[in-house]
């Protein structure tokens, strides 16, 4: 199952494809929107440097404000000049080239929103440098969706001799794709589970771009395969449903970093009997990034980067990023926003001096006249931010009868949580581990999926479950929100904190974990949903200073009602 491209030495190191993507981007930044490059390796630096040699790259700092991004009045210059002075925005300045955003996984939602509009209008192209370490982190999906290419250079071992030539070719010199080519691309996208039409359109343009780079006027098989590899493969959400989906060899000898694409003809000869879309699907399979491939092979959804919303709000909260300033008095813990207050006062100086009986022109300089209404206070994350963390015991003892009810109750509470704009997280523990199935979210859809996939059975690592839940709660609290734990279990721990079986140690560890929760002052509720509640649940609740409910015969709705009565979700934090 050798494909033309796996055999092509240029493409064995991820840098090869990244260079190819960069060449395409340089061909027409507006058409391709840009590229995101993951992993801070020397390869990436070399690539960015080379790209900067052929198109203008304008750095976009993470703290850029609206005025600088879109242009507007330069307040400082205007004040010193005494007349309004406009400044061009970065988007405008980067026209024809691309904006280069480092730490793209931290791009602020405001800025992402602006960039999305600029991308949609063809006013900007974007190179995102994705430095995410945590698999949950990623640049806003609203941006990456609009960029044709995504490369991962984390494991690239090459960096030398990356040179891009100034584009001599143009997309316009290549004929549009014929029906066979369109059909093959569409079929390949379908086989890979790529639904977005944007991706498909990018793939078509990329194929034309590849032909243009080769100086051809028509799109050939190799161009289509290249487009599939560059555009569709990184977006795959499933493996093509074909026989032997053996992963491609991962570590091949480092190739020469750049060169001519040749020796395609031989392999094409071998493939001639195959249908075009089969060739493309094969090309895609060989190009699916290794980590994505591993996830897909396990049947897991690919790294669903944090949606631009929740992810950003979370990050914003960690960094204590203000939402902007509002008029108000700095009291009750609110902080004065000095610059904003000055900004609010400055335009009024001429008027106020007039009112104060002084001639503005003859006294251009003097103390700034501030009034109460100028005062601005900083706002931080302002939503009623309460996160209810469910820790669900999915062990054999608890799961046998009651897991379904527990799931139902969690879903019901979620349904309610989303009404009140609070968030829910879900930790499940069974066997020898505890897992955060659902980071704090408001999405019912995601929660339902996480619950549906939750298997039952195995031992009861209660201590691990409690620790995991506490860690989530601590992270939530660190972001300035409040957390509450709801633990659904029978309390019969039999797996210790280190994953080893044995009741006595498990019991000790559980007590320690419970006390840690009490020490952190986290609100908690233990719900014993086993058919015959023993004393363990109540003891557990006592150890963590929480409340206890025994609900042996309740259905999902009753559990929800009972939990609610004790602990209303979404009450003001």
């Amino acid at each position: 199952m050798n494909t033309p491209d796996a055999a092509d030495p240029l493409h064995a190191d991820p840098l090869g494809d990244a260079v190819l993507a960069a060449r395409l981007l340089a061909l027409s930044p507006r058409t391709f929107g840009g590229m995101s490059v993951r992993g801070g390796s020397p390869a990436r630096d070399a690539l960015v440097a080379a790209l900067g040699g052929v198109i203008a790259l304008r750095r976009l700092p993470g703290h850029v404000d609206d005025e600088r991004l879109l242009g507007g009045i330069d307040l400082a210059a205007s004040l010193s000049a005494g007349r309004p002075i406009r400044q061009r925005g970065l988007i405008e300045e980067a026209a024809g080239g691309a904006l280069l955003a480092g730490m793209a996984e931290r791009i602020d939602a405001t800025i992402a929103g602006r960039l999305v509009q600029a991308l949609d209008d063809g006013r900007a192209a974007l190179v995102l440098l994705d430095d995410a370490a945590d698999p949950d982190e990623a640049p806003p999906i609203s941006l990456t969706e609009r960029l044709a290419f995504a490369c991962d250079l984390t494991h690239s071992r090459e960096w030398r001799g990356v040179v891009l030539d100034a584009a001599k070719a143009t997309l316009g010199q290549v004929a549009p794709l014929d029906d066979d080519a369109l059909r093959a691309l569409a079929a390949t996208a379908a086989a890979l589970g790529v639904e977005s039409l944007r991706a498909l359109i990018f793939a078509g343009e990329a194929a034309r771009g590849l032909a243009a780079l080769e100086g051809r006027a028509r799109v050939g098989k190799a161009d289509l395969a290249g487009a599939v590899r560059l555009v569709l493969a990184p977006r795959a959400t499933r493996l093509p449903q074909q026989d032997d989906a053996a992963p491609p060899p991962e570590d091949q000898p480092p190739p020469p970093p750049d060169g001519e694409r040749d020796d395609q003809s031989d392999s094409e000869q071998q493939q001639q009997d195959l249908d075009l879309s089969d060739i493309l699907v094969e090309a895609a399979k060989a190009a699916i990034p290794a980590d994505l491939l591993a996830q897909l092979a396990q049947g897991k959804a690919p790294r669903r980067s944090s949606s631009s919303g929740t992810g950003h709000k979370r990050k914003a909260a960690t960094r204590g990023k203000p939402l902007g300033a509002r008029p108000g008095m700095p009291r009750g813990g609110a902080k004065l926003a000095l610059i904003d207050s000055l900004r609010a006062a400055v335009p009024w100086q001429a008027v106020r001096r007039k009112e104060a009986g002084r001639d503005a022109a003859s006294h251009p300089i003097g103390p700034i006249i501030m009034r109460k209404e100028d005062l601005r206070i900083r706002r931080f994350e302002e939503r009623a931010a309460r996160v209810t963390i469910f820790a669900v015991d999915a062990s054999g003892s608890a799961a046998a009868a009651r897991l379904a009810e527990a799931k139902g109750a969690v879903e019901l509470m979620l349904g309610q949580a989303y009404v009140t704009r609070s968030e829910v997280a879900l930790v499940a523990f069974r066997g020898t581990s505890a897992e955060l199935l659902l980071p704090p979210t408001r999405s019912l859809t995601r929660a339902r999926r996480a619950l549906a996939e939750l298997p039952g059975g195995g031992g009861t690592p209660l201590a691990l479950g409690l620790n995991a839940a506490r860690e989530v709660a601590e992270a939530v609290i660190a972001r300035g929100r409040s957390a509450a734990l709801v633990i659904l279990t029978d309390g019969r721990a039999n797996i210790a904190a280190d994953g080893s079986p044995g009741r006595p140690q498990a019991k000790l560890d559980t007590e320690a974990a419970a006390r840690a929760i009490m020490a952190r002052g986290i609100d908690s509720l233990v719900v014993d949903i086993s058919a015959r509640p023993g004393p363990e649940g109540a003891e557990l609740a006592r150890a963590m200073g929480g409340r206890f409910l025994a609900l042996p015969r309740a259905d999902a709705r009753m559990i929800q009602a009972a939990i609610n009565a004790v602990q209303p979700i979404g009450k003001a934090a």
């Binding site: 405001t110 609203s142 969706e145 939402l323």
Partner: protein, 333 residues
């Protein structure tokens, strides 16, 4: 950049129908589009704006006031004579500040002449047109509340920064979003007149057709728009005729009864659903050039008018659309 022509959008019939109905009768209260990325939500919404017949507005008025607005809001509008202008379409970026949305002190004039003047925001721009919010489910809560308030009252009242301004802001809200990335509060959902679900077309031929059209547009946007101008013009005429016909159409008692029964059967909360259903059926009839509103119009629009109003049963996986279709089958056969 030239907008993609509305008539060149392949498939997505329900979304197109909902947008046209909102154009015929803006009082229906906006359209919410649910769906995955890259399904042409934004394209359709943006295409709609360039399709609509121009409006008459006061010359030089920053708010695009109509003759009636001029009388109601003499302070903001002045007495400019009426001239034609395009229906406004405002794209509200995620992360827009409150200042940008509701308007703020005009810094430039304050600096230049020490004058206290109001710089209208996006709400003013959207008056008599469309306000489009992509990823509305990710919008900050306080902005959503503000938008709802203005959308419901048709008026933007600014009392801040020493400014005191009241100006008209009647617009059709078009929201889009992917429920996977955060739900919309039901209070907000309910305010939308219609909601539609769009999916990426699965049919290969349809997808190929879309690629072909997009590539064609990419190569030669002006020529492409020109080629579709005829088709767009037909739709424009339909909308204009529909608008004119709307006032003459009234839903009969039988249709009203159908609407009430259907809402009851599917458990759509509140009177708003019933009213919207009726209005939407009437707008559809007007758009179709029908002589009267019939059950056919009602059933055609019912999923869009009701699916976001059903009481949510998280344990019931059955989609809202299925529930509505089933109820219609039982009631109307």
């Amino acid at each position: 950049m030239a907008r993609f022509p509305f008539s060149a959008i392949v498939g997505q019939d329900e979304m197109k129908q909902a947008l046209l109905i909102a154009a015929v009768d803006p009082s229906i209260g906006g359209v919410m589009v649910f769906g995955d990325r890259g399904t042409g939500k934004s394209t359709a919404a943006r295409a709609l704006a360039s399709l609509l017949p121009p409006i008459m507005a006061a010359d030089g008025c920053l708010y695009g006031c109509s003759a009636q607005d001029q009388v109601r809001y003499p302070d903001v509008c002045g007495t400019g004579k009426m001239v034609k202008r395009a229906v406004p379409f405002v794209d509200l970026p995620l992360g827009a500040t409150e200042d940008r949305v509701i308007g703020s002190l005009d810094l430039e004039r304050a600096l230049r002449s020490g004058e206290k003047a109001f710089e209208p925001g996006l709400l003013a721009k959207a008056h008599r047109g469309f306000l489009y919010i992509d990823e509305i489910n990710l919008l900050e809560d306080h902005l959503v509340d503000l938008l709802l308030d203005v959308a419901a009252s048709g008026e933007n009242v600014v009392e801040r920064e020493g400014l005191s301004v009241r100006h008209p802001a009647k617009f059709v809200l078009i929201g889009s979003g992917n429920p996977e990335e955060g739900e919309l509060r039901p209070q907000l959902l309910d305010r939308f007149g219609l909601s539609v679900e769009v999916r990426s077309p699965k049919d290969i031929e349809v997808r190929i057709q879309i690629m072909r059209l997009v590539a064609e547009n990419e190569r030669d946007p002006e020529g492409f728009v020109a080629r579709w101008a005829g088709e767009d013009d037909k739709i424009l005429k339909r909308v204009a005729k529909g608008k004119a016909r709307l006032t003459k159409l009234e839903a009969g008692d039988d249709v009203l009864r159908d609407a009430a029964e259907l809402c009851l059967a599917v458990g759509a909360d509140g009177l708003r659903g019933e009213l919207t259903l009726m209005r939407a059926a009437r707008a559809l009839a007007a758009l179709d050039g029908a002589k009267s509103v019939t059950r056919k119009h009602l059933t055609a629009i019912a999923p869009s008018a009701l699916r976001h109003r059903l009481r949510r049963d998280v344990l019931d996986e059955t989609g809202s659309t299925v529930r509505i279709t089933r109820a219609m089958g039982e009631l109307f056969g």
